[in-house]
Symmetry: C2
Subunit: 458 residues, 2 copies
Amino acid sequence: MTRTRIDTVMDTVRRQIASRTWVPGTRLPSVRAQARTLGCSVSTVVEAYERLAADNVITARPGAGFYVCGPAAPLALAELGPPVDREIDPLWVSRQSLEAGDGLLKPGCGWLPADWMYEDGMRRALRSVARADAAVLADYATPQGLPAMRQWLARRLGGLDIEAPPEQILLTESGTQAVDLIGRFLLEPGDTVLVDDPCYFNFHALLRAHRVQVVGVPYTPRGPDVAAFEAALQAHRPRLYLTNAGLHNPTGAALSSVTAHRLLQLAERAGLVIVEDDIFADFETQPAPRLAAFDGLARVISIGSFSKTVSASLRCGYIAARPDWIAGLTDLKIATSFGGGHLATAVLHSALTGSGYRRHLDSVRLRLAQAMAQTITRLRPLGIEPWTVPTAGLFLWCRLPGGHDAADVARACLRDGVVLAPGNAFSLTQGASAFLRFNVAQSADERLFESLRRALAR
Amino acid sequence: MTRTRIDTVMDTVRRQIASRTWVPGTRLPSVRAQARTLGCSVSTVVEAYERLAADNVITARPGAGFYVCGPAAPLALAELGPPVDREIDPLWVSRQSLEAGDGLLKPGCGWLPADWMYEDGMRRALRSVARADAAVLADYATPQGLPAMRQWLARRLGGLDIEAPPEQILLTESGTQAVDLIGRFLLEPGDTVLVDDPCYFNFHALLRAHRVQVVGVPYTPRGPDVAAFEAALQAHRPRLYLTNAGLHNPTGAALSSVTAHRLLQLAERAGLVIVEDDIFADFETQPAPRLAAFDGLARVISIGSFSKTVSASLRCGYIAARPDWIAGLTDLKIATSFGGGHLATAVLHSALTGSGYRRHLDSVRLRLAQAMAQTITRLRPLGIEPWTVPTAGLFLWCRLPGGHDAADVARACLRDGVVLAPGNAFSLTQGASAFLRFNVAQSADERLFESLRRALAR
């Protein structure tokens, strides 16, 4: 019985409690079951439980096992989940990027520069809504949200081969709120959720707030690794798989048809629900296959927003799902955020239906393709190579040369006023320490490459 | 051992499971403890547990007691909580009012008619923001939200004697989201929360989504009944008390200084956190005392929004709280809704800081006072009497004559195209069946009084 093994068991229990997977009053697994799960001896677990009890973290009830002590401290997202570098936790990139002042470069952030966005369209839409009926300016939205916007979305989803009538669409305050509502509707604390490894870092932070176990499946340039996906289904019996539709964040890769078909077969057999976040749809030049299209919104839920292509300042997302789920999600939306953003939806709808949006997208896609090529060309002399060359979008997932740690590089560059996105912020297994995600639309400034050169020369 | 008692125990267990107070895997209280809690015999509980086990609702683990079976069905808010009339559940008023078409009268809804709202100010604000910097139109907000808006709020709260520097203010998507974030931050499933009885109906729906026990404290014309409040603290050891600041919804009453002082003393002794929803602040002519002012934001959290006086179409709320709580709540906001409504906040700030808002409020307060007097005068001949005459605001909480049931009256009037708010939608104990809440700003149409007259003549 080594000191290290006891510590491991204690850390595991502490983490389950900190993440509120085990809430106060929960009975811990028996000593025998815990030893089996963690692959250690019974005596190691006994010793760990005793020490935790001495520390008032858990309490022994004679003859009935060990229970989590209560009440807990307020939920602290930053301290939850697997042990990650404290400075580079899943909230790190959000905090740095959202707080960044004007002088900073943000190649690590997940959005276009403001002057690449649909600025003219937004100005026109605001002026147009300034002349709208009083009800648009003053009243709550209907529970499911503006019918005209849902009709527009139904047509757009139809273009991706996803059949979703307006009645099967619920407008939300944002894409993030869409995932959050689905989690509250379908998940129990302690459920398991599959995500891609790597995946959008905020999925980790969001799922922690739901107190679920998160399991990563390695991502390949054609979608998740199907064999690993199947093994994860068998080992963990997950309730949900949360992924991107189309262009994947952070890699820029996309699902192939064969992967999509096999994933769905596995999901059907396992009773798995899939949430497909279609937030980057409008960057695609050729749409990748959608799981929601193959599945017909039976077990796949399609969500999205327009934060990446119209405006991130204006909040409006959507959920397309089975009718019975939409009914339950609508009740939950009213209970937890009431009326929804009527005005934001009206401005968005006006912007999307103006004649300029298609032209805006054509121009953005062209600029992104050029920026992608230039960023690759400028990173190459530094020995920074793309893991795959995306067909479109704003992300480039790159490997650093010579064993450099991306977190160290990110810290060094932050001192130069450059906010990077280190790989492990996206990786549950912390297996992406050699990677950085570049936003090609935010990577034009020579100071970025100078800062990287200095950081890599150390 | 009668059939009825066994059914009662079974219903209680089923409700705890449906509301997810007990999630799959939870150990049920022992037979003896349950018998004590429900005041029935041990053999009644044994029989109830056995029948629930036969129904696969719970499962017996020999020697270890009974456990909730899993996995559960998706969370269904409408089916949760205490048994209420299915048509008049806490979501009833929201659904009817939010869905109501143009032809309907809505004296039961909780907002001003669109043409009473700050329409001119909104049009001016939209035109002004249409000329703003690209960053305002396109970028995410900073994590805590627009500094200028938080500075404005700090001054406004200062006017109510609440000391809240901008660093202690977090902007949210709405007042409802403010309560929701606080619940996710401070509450555990199974915790107890006190509310007023009656209280804003959506507090019930919202708290159900948090899987907490809700206990009502009778409300008096000077605030909650202090003796009942003290008894509830002792009996239930609640974590939180959720109430209105200033004008109370649905009664229009307000807290007296002596009640505020005594409540705070009790809260301090019991370690209770108080959330004070200040959504009706701008309707007051003379501000009532605020718990947050007495307490200095130590254990009181002040929240609010501008949905009632500027626009409900534009979503923006706030939380003022202890600095460490604001830090944790900010992380949780980013994780669950990301950037926040930058554009909505900019429009709101522009509307509030324009010269017209004070004049708008003066005019609304005058119209409300006139409408209040008229509504009282027109209800009196029907035998409908106010429980208290509010000093300001839009609500009038009225008792029906002669044993009429408000739910029956609401159903009858709905057939005439009149959406009423029956008392039990606001009452946890279902003790308000003789009451209706009238929104005096939506009660000018003669058809309302005709419909009431017919309904009461039955």
